[in-house]
Symmetry: C2
Subunit: 132 residues, 2 copies
């Protein structure tokens, strides 16, 4: 999917996420955008839906938050499964991809005749800096 021009709201949400150090919840984004006229959660969620669809933002299911894709120039929908390591101390997220894991999971799913559509791989723990 090629990313179309972002609308005003989409840009605002995307900018907030880009400037953030780590993942943000929808309501945190909302608060950061009140000065720009945002009043309701739906304004955020609608923008996020599109950004997710375009593949420029990821949703972290285990912490109900959103983060910009770490591979700005590629299409995240194309490079298979995405995995995240989420630090529970500092909140930082490391995004990575592994074709082996990818294949292995896909093979298994195929053996079960399961048609995969969306995937979530999230590891929570402590990053190098925080584990000390």
């Amino acid at each position: 999917m090629t990313t179309p021009m972002l609308t005003k709201n989409q840009s605002l949400v995307f900018d907030v996420l880009t400037k953030a150090e780590g993942p943000l919840s929808a309501y945190t984004i909302l608060d950061k955008l009140r000065d720009h006229g945002f009043r309701a959660p739906l304004q955020v969620y609608r923008a996020l839906d599109k950004l997710l669809e375009y593949g420029v933002v990821h949703r972290l299911e285990s912490i109900n938050s959103f983060v910009v894709c770490a591979h700005p120039n590629e299409d995240c929908h194309s490079h298979g499964l995405v995995a995240f390591a989420i630090c529970e101390s500092c909140g930082q997220v490391i995004e990575f991809h592994d074709h082996e894991v990818d294949h292995r999971l896909m093979d298994w799913l195929k053996s079960q005749k399961f048609k995969a559509e969306k995937s979530t791989i999230e590891i929570r723990g402590h990053c190098a800096g925080c584990a000390a």
Copy 2:
């Protein structure tokens, strides 16, 4: 971890989940237990916390639901990462484990000096029966 005797509430919640065809949300469990005296969400969540701790129940982050472990006689905490295939049509869940995926992810995390604590691997899509 060996699973201690379950308390009354824990048993009730566990039974409901065991009899269910698929994953249930905490509030669905609550509704099913109103006849048994349950009145508040906390009664469910507290029981679930323990059942999760004992490893006899899994939490599905991507659908905010809970399901009994598919391997009643083993200790789910011991056989590494757990992955789930969740059918978005019928709601059924297939639980599986793969040491290769396991190792691969762990190696990567190790290379990043990331200390993993909890993991979530969930694939949503359509099962063999529903994909038709």
